[in-house]
Subunit: 475 residues, 2 copies
């Protein structure tokens, strides 16, 4: 979709969700925003009334369209940095449609998705990472995703990236200066200080890059697979977890046919359970297909919950069989993970072994060690032991959210950070090899460019269009 | 649903439509509205800032929930007449939900449907008919329904009803006075003047009551049936009308199985076409059932469009057969109308006779008179003659909307007007029979009560609950 950067036009859009409601807000931004709305308003207003609610009639020719509350804002003290009018109208489909038509007849054009936020960015009201956070905030459906978006909107991540850039720019300037004196072989830039900076920045980049797996899992929901042969109680466990929490549960058909994904929110963290439980209840070809699918969903999971049956663990032979079974399942999942590409492959799944059906047979005492883990005894049927599972699923994420650590959630940011990391590693290598300042400067500039793309200090033509096209219209 | 009249509680609700959007508005009204929102707002405000937009952070404990625009209003200069805070937040499902939770934790309760508007009524901000108009306005989907709601909201109808009441009250007071002097046989009330008033009011009531059929048809959509034997081009005509207008078309399954209702908007008036066209394409039992259904939808139609085939009208015998066919269809529809109850039965359908397929055979020249009508020649296939049909369908409604005449649209109002009419007729009869003032006063009081229910001057307990329960929550 073609995005018009500041084209001087006045744009309008419905900013509230579509549909019927008590109130709807139509927003207009641009140089003609005030005169256009005043053109069909029964009351006028002056600069001194910016930020004040004005009760007015909106006239459609000689007829009254609505009684509305008008909220004018004056450039540059507005969301977009331009003159804005918010029209708070009755949330009727007809009034919403007609008011937009009237605005377009008066010279507005419909705003493109995210165009208000894009204008805010282009007018320097927010940087690019903060602008993206607005989109994330609007689509946040649970507490975890919401907290990440708020943190990014507050600008902490932007400030960190900006501080990296400022420190690099200082050295870059000194090294560029050396180029001007190329013949004289002077060194303005302090190589030792630069090396210390690179080491420090690389360590901070490492932490940010390492946070992505956790940040992304929180933002998009943590994938969890429940594995085990038929009749181990996989469905029962899933239902017990879902019911126990009185959580917001949604069942959506997965991309793979017959795999249903269920979401539940524990301590504000969204978990996505791939329920392949019903797949292995039959034998022959269908069962083999079922196993394949179960492994397929498990390979990208952050947690693999593997179910054992307490009745099978009553003898040393049973324990040995369980050990073999779990090791085989881990090997299968590991093989499947080999097909994943880099970023996904980097995250090792965390296995949670459970001894289910302790209502039918006691768990071995003391608990055995199986495939290097101590399994937890539970009864999905009687809902015993669920709290410990929930604790194990949520602990890392709630700790990460509660720390003041920045969590990277945006794939674009992660790629830019990886690019900066590569460039700074190259700079360090060049420095240690005693290469000249002009060669080091190339890597330094590359790192600056990567970091600049995060906050929008550097914005290639295609970047903005790509980012804002994913916004909803009216924001 | 139980409605709490002014219970002193502070109420909150999402006032914008549900879903994801740039902006959502959560509204709080009541004595604690300001302190509750200030309790989690990073900025405070004073009375002098009522009506001013305040940019603030909304804090959820130690975390930031959102950056919001707060719009406080002070009683009594607010929509409800109470202290109000509108919180303009980002339209994220999580933020919307969480903010309402925080408000409830702080002592608000969720508003019932229409409760903001109900409080506006109870605080004397609007009368009852105007309050109902807000609900109609929000649900108006096309220009006609919208114009009726705006007219009612502007208070013209309320003022008319109120003027009836004031004139009746004057006489009522004088007649009540006569009761105090019962023994002395004095007449304070001018019988001649009262009679003139009754005649005048009855004539105005007649006009209002008579407007209901038109008002209701505009508000709810005008029902139109297209009749005729198979292969006369009923579907083709309907599709031609739908396409011609590039209108907003919706297909909804009707209450009768196999009857599809299609809507189209002509000159801002919504028409609801019962498309029974496909039903008679087969023979035997199914065809008989089809005819029954077609007649069923036609009996409540405001317009019956009956299709003839130009090829059948080339001989006097063909014209005679057409005459018989149309008369028979009219008789069938009339018989079916006999089953309708009063209000619906009062509206005689308007028949539009069309000679279709003039692309295959010429229409007789001069045009014949069939069943008392002159049919119009059209070709649905080639889209000739459609403009005249549209003109015939819309003329009465656009004229009614363009006139300054009040159109009654609300069944409750219509019933109250009918009640007042009955009472005033009885008063006139009593007057003409020379009955005493106390007997006339009974009828006069009944008329006052009926009229008072329209504007809410008189509000029986169950009335408000019934009216506002049909509103959406948040309004």
């Amino acid at each position: 979709m073609e995005i018009h950067p500041l084209d001087g036009q006045t744009i309008c859009a419905l900013s509230t969700p579509h549909g019927v409601g008590g109130i709807a807000v139509v927003r207009v931004s641009g140089p003609e925003a005030w005169p256009i709305v005043q053109g069909f308003s029964s009351r006028s207003w002056s600069k001194s009334q910016a930020g004040t609610a004005i009760l007015t009639q909106i006239n459609d020719g000689s007829a009254v369209l609505d009684e509305a509350l008008i909220l004018p804002f004056a450039a540059p003290a507005s969301f977009t940095g331009e003159d804005i009018v918010e029209c708070h109208i009755h949330g009727s489909p007809y009034i919403q449609r007609r008011l937009l038509e009237m605005m377009i007849e008066a010279g507005c054009r419909m705003a493109l998705p995210g165009e208000f936020t894009q204008r805010a960015f282009l007018h320097g009201k927010r940087d690019l990472a903060q602008s993206e956070a607005i989109g994330d905030l609007i689509h946040a459906e649970h507490a975890g995703a919401h907290r990440l978006a708020v943190a990014q909107l507050s600008g902490g991540f932007s400030a960190e990236v900006q501080s990296f850039r400022e420190q690099l720019i200082e050295f870059a300037a000194l090294m560029e200066l050396e180029l001007d004196f190329g013949e004289e072989d002077v060194e303005f830039a302090d190589r030792k200080g630069y090396r210390a900076l690179l080491i420090e920045l690389l360590s901070r980049l490492d932490a940010l890059i390492g946070s992505f797996a956790t940040g992304r899992a929180i933002a998009e929901g943590v994938p969890v697979a429940i594995l085990g042969p038929p009749n181990r109680g996989k469905s029962t466990l899933l239902n017990a977890l879902l019911n126990e929490q009185r959580a917001i549960v949604s069942a959506t058909p997965g991309t793979t046919r017959d795999v249903i994904e269920q979401s539940l929110t524990l301590s504000g963290i969204r978990f996505r359970f791939s329920d392949t439980a019903g797949l292995r209840e039959t034998v022959d070809e269908i069962e083999i297909e079922g196993i394949r699918r179960a492994i397929g969903t498990a390979r990208a999971a952050r947690f693999v919950i593997y179910l054992l049956d307490a009745r099978d663990l009553q003898s040393p032979a049973g324990l040995e069989a369980a050990e073999r079974e779990v090791l085989e399942a881990q090997a299968e999942v590991e093989r499947a993970r080999g097909e994943l590409d880099g970023a996904e492959h980097a995250v090792q799944p965390h296995w949670i072994l459970l001894i289910n059906k302790t209502d039918l047979a006691p768990a071995p005492d003391p608990l055995p060690v199986i495939a290097g883990c101590t399994p937890q005894p539970i009864s999905a049927e009687e809902r015993h032991g669920l709290a410990a599972i929930e604790q194990e699923l949520t602990a890392d994420f709630t700790a990460a959210l509660d720390s003041s650590q920045t969590l990277v959630t945006n794939l674009r940011h992660q790629q830019a950070l990886l690019g900066a990391q590569t460039a700074l590693k190259a700079a360090l290598k060049a420095l240690d090899a005693g290469l000249s300042g002009d060669l080091i400067a190339v890597d330094n500039r590359a790192a600056l460019a990567h970091l600049g793309r995060i906050t929008g200090a550097i914005t290639p033509d295609d970047l903005l269009g790509h980012i804002f096209a994913n916004f909803c219209i009216g924001k």
